[in-house]
């Protein structure tokens, strides 16, 4: 069984979103997604300062198996990326909800967060 923390929100394309007090939102990929993809070998992150609309492809995770697009779960500006992934992409496998986070966004349309699934709905979507 994959781990699906109840305090996060999820997109159907397996990104998770953590609302951070006053610091925008943190984005990563779910435990289910990292397990499906296998060992990560290269993560292509967006440039801080870039803006995306909800659903835009904004990053790529490459595993031993395949390259997968990561979609912006909400519209907004990327304000920080997880630079540790450059040297250690395996953090996404080992700690997908912690040290394996991908980037931080400042949402321009906070109401879009309501479009995302809660843990129960995401769990059902991957059954």
């Amino acid at each position: 069984m994959s781990d699906i923390p109840s305090d996060l929100k999820y997109r159907e394309s397996h990104e998770w979103v953590r609302e951070d007090d006053g610091e925008g939102v943190v984005v990563g990929i779910s435990d289910h997604a990292q397990a499906e993809l296998g060992d990560m070998v290269f993560i292509e992150l967006p440039e801080p300062g870039m803006s995306y609309s909800q659903g835009d492809a904004c990053a790529v995770v490459e595993s031993v198996k395949a390259a997968s697009d990561i979609y912006a779960p909400v519209s907004g500006e990327v304000v920080e990326v997880n630079e540790a992934l450059e040297d250690d992409p395996g953090l996404v496998n080992n700690d997908p909800y912690g040290d394996g986070w991908l980037f931080r966004m400042e949402p321009s349309e906070p109401s879009e967060l309501e479009d995302l699934m809660d843990a129960d709905a995401y769990s059902e979507s991957i059954d």
């Binding site: 296998g38 060992d39 070998v41 290269f42 292509e44 198996k65 390259a67």
Partner: protein, 370 residues
Amino acid sequence: MRKTPLHHAHIDAGARMVDFAGWEMPINYGSQIDEHHAVRRAAGMFDVSHMCPVEVRGPQARPFLAHLLANDVGKLSTAGKALYSCMLNEQGGVIDDLICYYLAEDHFRVVVNAGTREKDLEWMKSRASAFDVDVAAMEAYGMIAVQGPDAREKFLGLLTPEFRATAEALEPFNAAQVGDLFVARTGYTGEDGFEIICSELGARPLWDTLVGVEVTPCGLGARDSLRLEAGMNLYGQDMDESVSPLESGLGWTVAMNDERDFIGRSALEAQKEAGVKWRFTGLVLLDRGVLRHDQVVKTSAGDGVITSGGFSPTLERAIALARLPAGDEEQCKVEIRGRELDAVTVRPPFVRSGKPGAKMQAVLDSIASN
């Protein structure tokens, strides 16, 4: 989907299972990269029971195979000796690549790929009708590949002194019957080790015994990255019926020095005469990223294509096998998501016996000095 005799061993070990050529096979048991390193640094094993041994028996077994295969079974003069070969169609296209073992003058064993099993058998049987020979797929067997610097010692340690002496005496690319086991000193990883054919019922006990001496179960994922590092072709990706061995880096497996009449020979001679238009080579990506099957390679002589690509856990960079327009230029570009990234050609293998090959080391040194 078809299952091997080791299916439950994989499930019990928590393997992630995938469909491979109609067989339900383990892709990994957790981490593909850890499995890869286990084979490079110690010992790992693979369930290769989906591969198909074909028994070729009869007084004309040798002349039949001399006609059927592009490599020359005339090279096989001592019992147990193995030969890697392509099996070609009349157009010189590769129907399959295989290993042929010489067991006795009236008995050869040919191990073919899982995905090509049916068409291979059909082809071999149709071609066998002109010879006094019988072609039949082996039934009810298991096959395990034990590979890595410690693989031989781990396996030999399981045998009685008499059996051990037989298996230990095997030179590379030789095989022998060792009790109930057919043991070949062959593999698909670039490491030393054995490929073992056992009975269907004997597969699980052998697997569990190997687990007990700390041989790491490895899935198809690691098998692919290991063979890519070793510069070994994968049928269906690096070559198929639309290309010849001369366009697939397999010219060394085609024996054309004498007059032997083998299927595909005249097509290969015509191709040689006209000049082979493609070269098959290794690529190393100098930029960050991952090379993948089907990516376009830009050279000054035109576009080529990556046939197999991936991340090399040993070298920690992207490597590939590619079919490029003939030439000797080393610099090229690979299109990845709309960008052209720098790559350089390298003659495989990328990794030999756990370490970078000579050409690969030169590339790594030049990257490090820039």
